[in-house]
């Protein structure tokens, strides 16, 4: 029961705090809420955009969650998704002739390899050099941004555009886009995300590897005593985390833009932390939380035009407040003590 109650309450508390801010800014919070709902689910196109924003969040949520299960903190999903998307774009430009489904498969694999590499580095550093993955992943985010900027501007630059973007990938790399959603770019990547979530569930709960991974996450020294190669588990966990994050490239490069655009991600990597936490690191929870935050992201985009004082930045504020409420564990025991009195 508490499993659902706690995130639910945190969500309610976070939403009402966030809406109070809009009230303080001089808007009618009820109207803001209705606009949010209409913006996210008002038409076929809106639903499509909500799903489009949710897709990367599923990937980054899974990325953060698998690291969590191994007792590691992946703040680096942002860098991993950047490198993953960049690798996919590079593959699509270098072998642009690659036909039909093979190109798309190659592209998705490139995402996984690129992101996985960027996750492997902090995993290896943690396991072999015992340096903390939080700092390393933060640093690697910035390094990824630098690498992406260099490759985009100097190596793969699109000569026909003023925007900082690469040339487009070959036609064989593009994922099928569903037409149900009035030109909203909902592609096969969404299905890939759901498959990734199922794979995540099986890997964590139904395989010996998942058992070892959870053992390392819960008590590292006990796991080592039991003969588990903790270094190997940690390196693998971070590599898989990077692979999940890298698949954001499938949604963006192969399923939407057809090229790598610099700074395409509105901090999907950081939102992934909120998604994983609100979803309690479970596959279903992450799917639900990603849908919720995707809807928030799409819904707030409407507020720029529809209201006078509220901007799309409200999305970040709401997520931050919800994240604060979910993470403050002491809050719940404090509330329980209150109610007993």
């Amino acid at each position: 029961m508490r499993k659902f109650l706690q995130p639910g309450l945190a969500l309610l508390l976070g939403l009402s705090l966030g809406l109070t801010i809009t009230w303080a800014a001089g808007e009618n919070p009820w109207r803001v809420l209705l606009l949010l709902g209409k913006g996210a689910f008002g038409s076929k196109y809106d639903v499509g955009m909500t799903l489009f924003y949710s897709t990367p969040l599923i990937f980054t949520g899974l990325s953060v969650a698998i690291a969590f299960h191994a007792g590691l903190f992946n703040i680096g999903a942002e860098g991993q998704l950047t490198i993953g998307a960049l690798t996919a774009a590079a593959a699509g430009i270098v072998w642009s002739k690659c036909p039909g489904p093979f190109g798309a498969i190659l592209g998705v694999l490139a995402c996984i390899v690129g992101g996985g590499l960027w996750g492997f580095i902090p995993g290896w550093l943690r396991a072999k050099r015992n340096s903390h993955e939080v700092i390393n992943t933060i640093m690697l985010n910035f390094i990824a941004a630098g690498v992406a900027s260099y490759i985009t501007l100097y190596v793969l630059k699109n000569p026909d555009s003023q925007n900082p973007e690469t040339k487009s990938v070959g036609a064989g790399y593009l994922l099928h886009i569903f037409e149900t959603f009035d030109s909203a770019p909902v592609s096969v990547a969404l299905l890939l995300a759901v498959v990734a979530a199922i794979a995540f569930y099986i890997l964590i709960w139904r395989t010996p590897f998942g058992f070892e991974l959870r053992a390392v996450g819960q008590n590292e020294s006990a796991a080592r005593m039991a003969g588990i190669d903790t270094a190997r588990i940690r390196i693998l966990a971070m590599t898989i985390a990077g692979g999940f994050a890298g698949m954001v490239g499938a949604a963006e490069v192969l399923g939407n833009a057809g090229r790598f655009k610099l700074n395409f991600s509105p901090e999907y990597g950081f939102m992934g932390i909120a998604v994983a936490l609100l979803g309690r690191n479970s596959a279903l929870g992450i799917l639900a939380a990603a849908l919720l935050f995707g809807a928030l992201h799409k819904g707030t985009a409407e507020l720029d035009l529809e209201t006078e004082h509220v901007t799309r930045d409200l999305s970040m504020v709401l997520q931050a407040v919800i994240l604060l409420c979910v993470s403050a564990e002491g809050l719940w025991s404090w509330m329980q003590r209150r109610s007993l009195r």
Binding site: I21, A25, G26, F73, I75, L125, R129, S131, H132, V134, I135, N136, I138, M139, L140, F142, I143, G146, V147, S149, Y150, Y154, E267, F270, I273, A274, L277, H309, V310, T311, D313, L314, S315, M316, V317, L318, Q319, A320, V321, L323, L324, S327, A328, E329, G330, L331, W334
Partner: protein, 290 residues
């Protein structure tokens, strides 16, 4: 050219010095502070807004410190009082500042994400550089020669020992976190009313994390940390000057390489490839008084 570069180095490292000194207090007391970025950002906004209103950069800086302090209160409430995870909470604080500042610009100035320009006469000319280095000196002396400085180190290295000496660990940590917020906030203000002429969306652009990197690079000690800030500031200053400079023919120096250098160096130091940087022992753990 050289003295010009030196001057620029000192100027751009000023916000880093402020934030890194703030981070040092928090981290030495055992509280990780990845929220420096958000505290700087809210400080940058508060500094610009109040300087714009009062025409005094000093009031702006004070307001920025207060804004950072308020965010630090929220952070402390979550991680010390409610024992929330320090990294998650820190990232949430960053997101909050990231979303809240353009939101407030819209409410106050009806502008998308930036504050109005602040006239040059109302801005700092050079003062924050001196303040920053005085702060470094003060932190160094305070940590080394006062009893409270010792408490701070114990709260981060061995909180049980401090508690058994009858000192309240969490009270020490509260003080440290609040100071870190005030310093980071003031550092943010130097970005908006000293190095540039207004607040704009995401003005800090990761400088809170660079400050954190400098702190690790400087092994959590005041003088080496300040030196690391200078080094990272130099990387930034050199990068701006090398933009578009041609080596030969048409080969441009890719400034991205200089840009990522501080982060690469930090990873190397933390991994023990160049010296070894060791964190306070109890860093990141919450303390429960018995």
């Amino acid at each position: 050219m050289t003295s010009e570069l030196l001057k620029a180095t000192f100027r751009v490292s000023t916000p880093l010095v402020f934030a890194a000194m703030g981070g040092m207090f928090s981290e030495r007391s055992g509280v990780i502070n990845v929220a420096l970025e958000g505290m700087m950002l809210i400080g940058a906004f508060a500094g610009a807004a109040s300087t714009f209103a009062t025409h005094s950069p000093w009031i702006g800086m004070l307001a920025a410190a207060v804004a950072g302090l308020i965010f630090a209160m929220l952070y402390g409430l979550c991680v010390i009082r409610l024992r929330a995870n320090q990294i998650v909470t820190g990232m949430a604080i960053n997101m909050l500042a990231f979303g809240l500042t353009p939101f407030m610009c819209k409410v106050l100035y009806d502008a998308t994400g930036s504050s109005p320009q602040i006239p040059a006469t109302d801005r700092f000319q050079i003062a924050p550089v001196y303040v920053a280095w005085l702060l470094v000196l003060a932190c160094f002396l305070w940590l080394k020669y006062t009893r409270k400085g010792l408490w701070l180190s114990f709260a981060g290295e061995h909180p049980e020992a401090l508690a058994s000496a009858g000192i309240r660990v969490n009270r020490v940590r509260w003080g440290a976190v609040l100071l870190s917020g005030a310093f980071a906030g003031a550092g943010g203000a130097t970005l908006s009313i000293f190095l540039s002429s207004s607040f704009s969306r995401n003005l800090t652009a990761g400088r809170g994390f660079i400050a954190l990197a400098a702190l690790i690079f400087g092994k959590w000690k005041p003088i080496p940390t300040a030196a690391a800030c200078l080094l990272f500031g130099f990387a930034e200053a050199a990068q701006i000057r090398l933009q578009g400079v041609k080596l030969w023919n048409d080969v441009v120096i890719p400034t991205q390489f200089i840009q990522v250098l501080p982060y690469l160096l930090t990873i190397c130091v933390l991994a023990g490839f160049i010296g070894r940087s060791r964190a306070p022992k109890a860093l990141g753990t919450s303390f429960e008084p018995t």
